[in-house]
Every structure is written in C-alpha cells, then in structure tokens.
Symmetry: C2
Subunit: 151 residues, 2 copies
DNA sequence: TTGCCAGTTCAAGTCGACTTCAAGTCAAGG
DNA sequence: CCTTGACTTGAAGTCGACTTGAACTGGCAA
C-alpha cells in the first residue's frame, strides 16, 4: 500500500497538517514510519480521519473518540455510549427546533415589543428556567476537503 | 421597584455572581447603583438575563447579543439576523438528525465490522467530505435556576 | 468595637482543539 | 554544491465564556 506524507494527507482529508500532528499526539492516528524526519502515513489513515470527523460531528471529544479505537487500531464500539449520545442529540434537536421556531416567530411577530408577545414570553421563560442551556457554536473550517476516504 | 444584590440575582437567575460581573463588563446588563461597593440590580435584570440565555441558546455570542440591546436598554431586533440564525439552525438540525440516525444504526447494526456496513460507510463518507462539520458541545451548567423572570 | 461574611477589584487561569512561531532538518532539483 | 521548500520539534498563543485567587471593603449583629 502506498504511503502519503503529511501534506498529501492534509490535502486529501481537508485536515491541516498541524491538526494531523496534534491528532497523532493524541493517539487518534498513527504514522507508519518516517522518511528522514517526515512522517509517512498509510492511506488507511484517511478512513480513520473520516471516523474522527464523524465522532466530532456527533459531539464526542477527541479523547472520547480515542477511546473508540482499540490499541490494535480496530474500531471498538460502545453501543451504550452511542445510544446515550443519540439520546442527547434527540434532546438537543428538540431544544434547537424550539429555538428556531422562536427565532422565526420573533423575526415576523408584529407586536409592538416582543416582550408583550405571549409566544415570545413563553419562550423566554423556558430560557430563563435553564431548560434551554447552550448548544455551542460551529467552527469556521474553510478548506475544501476533496472527497477523502474512498467510500 | 425593589433592588437586588448580586447574590440574590444569582440565586434567582441561576447565573453565577462572577458571570453577572462579567456580563456587566460586557454591557449585557447594568446595575442601577451601589450600596457601598455592592452592586444593586433592578428586578428587571432577570428578564434581561432570560433574553441573554435565550440568545445563547440560539447560538449567538455574547457580543452579538449585546448588539441586540439598544443603548437605552430596549430590545433592538435585527430580523435579518434572526432569520439567518434560524436558517443556520435548520441546517444544524438536519445534520444532527442524520448523525443521530447514524449513531442509532451503529449501536444496533450487526455487521461484523461497521466498516463493512454500507449504511455506516455512507455516513462515513459524508463526514469525510466535510458535510458534517462540527456543532459544538454544551456546557455542564449544574446549578438549579429557580424560575427567574416572572413570565 | 469587633469580626464575619458577602461583596468588591484586577489579574491570571481554565478548557478544547487547534494554530502559530522560531529554529532546525533534509531530499531533491538546478 | 547549494538552495529551496516542505517537513520537523517544542513551546506558546488563540478564542469565548467564564472561574479562581489574592487582597481588600463595608454593613450589620453580638
């Protein structure tokens, strides 16, 4: 199997070289050797990176994702953790949907002040009660990936 | 109208005193005066905090939320921004729903290895293509609020 | 009058996921 | 042979939203 240098992996995966080194430190990926100082990666790293991206998208931290790989590199799925995360996503989805509706309402509502609009006040009190605690913002991530992991 | 000290506001709103001072620095809330060194807040601050919480839940940064209050303290709604955020939430919702389904599938799928499961591979390639870039994780936030802002 | 305790200030620290920087290495091309 | 430029390292910096720490203040009860 061909080996790729870090720049090649970066290009194909859309993950920056510095991030790749960071991932290696964290044990998320491994290089298969060196050419001088340069890391060489097996093409399989692209699939691995896709798994990492998927885990991140699901809301797992890099450390949690690292747990999902057995020392031998195989996938070690914890079904309980996945189900728990799916349930958490369900809750998040409900919360975000409510907020989206609230935003659309606020953008259209013609009440003199939103504070006088019953719908808005209902949403507001939900927020005040902590029922809507923070989701967290997505990153900028600009670079055009380019169809990694031949799936 | 009665005034509240910072501890009282913290208790009623579920927002820590240090966060309240931070919000004041940022111009998100204002105290109505002092008693010695101690800030005094008008009870209206609770509604204001509910608005802040709502903005955060919607994914606005504190700076963006600050923009939504006119200098006089009234709400200054930018309908365009709200609609844009609602649209963004729609995209996020779709993405998260897809991932949730993927997680549930992965938790139940009996393929020898997930990497051999077509459904999983499809999801994986979506992740690899960057189509699923990160949502961002919710904070711990433990303290039991207690029904602030009499809405 | 004293001493407590909740408040105050400003500076620095935290967390996660990276990025950036300075200084150094090395393989290949001219 | 020498330059170039993509790589290497470790340390430090970034961002947002707070928290924590140290040193201090001041109103109120005993």
């Amino acid at each position: 199997m061909q080996t790729l240098d870090i720049g090649e992996v970066a290009r194909r995966s859309g993950v920056s070289a510095s991030a790749l080194r960071y991932y290696e430190q964290k044990g998320l990926i491994a290089s298969v050797g060196r050419s001088g100082l340069r890391r060489l990666f097996d093409a399989g790293v692209l699939e691995r990176l896709a798994l990492v991206a998927l885990g991140q998208a699901a809301g797992f931290s890099l450390d949690e994702i690292a747990q999902m790989f057995a020392p031998d590199g195989r996938l070690r799925i914890d079904r309980r953790a996945l189900t728990a995360k799916a349930d958490e996503l369900d809750r998040t989805l409900r919360r975000l949907a409510a907020i989206r509706d609230g935003l659309r309402h606020a953008a259209e509502c013609r009440a003199a002040s939103h504070l006088e609009c019953p719908t808005f006040r209902r949403i507001l009190s939900a927020a005040a009660s902590g029922a809507m605690d923070t989701p967290r913002r997505r990153r900028p991530r600009s670079p055009g990936p380019a169809e990694a992991a031949g799936a």
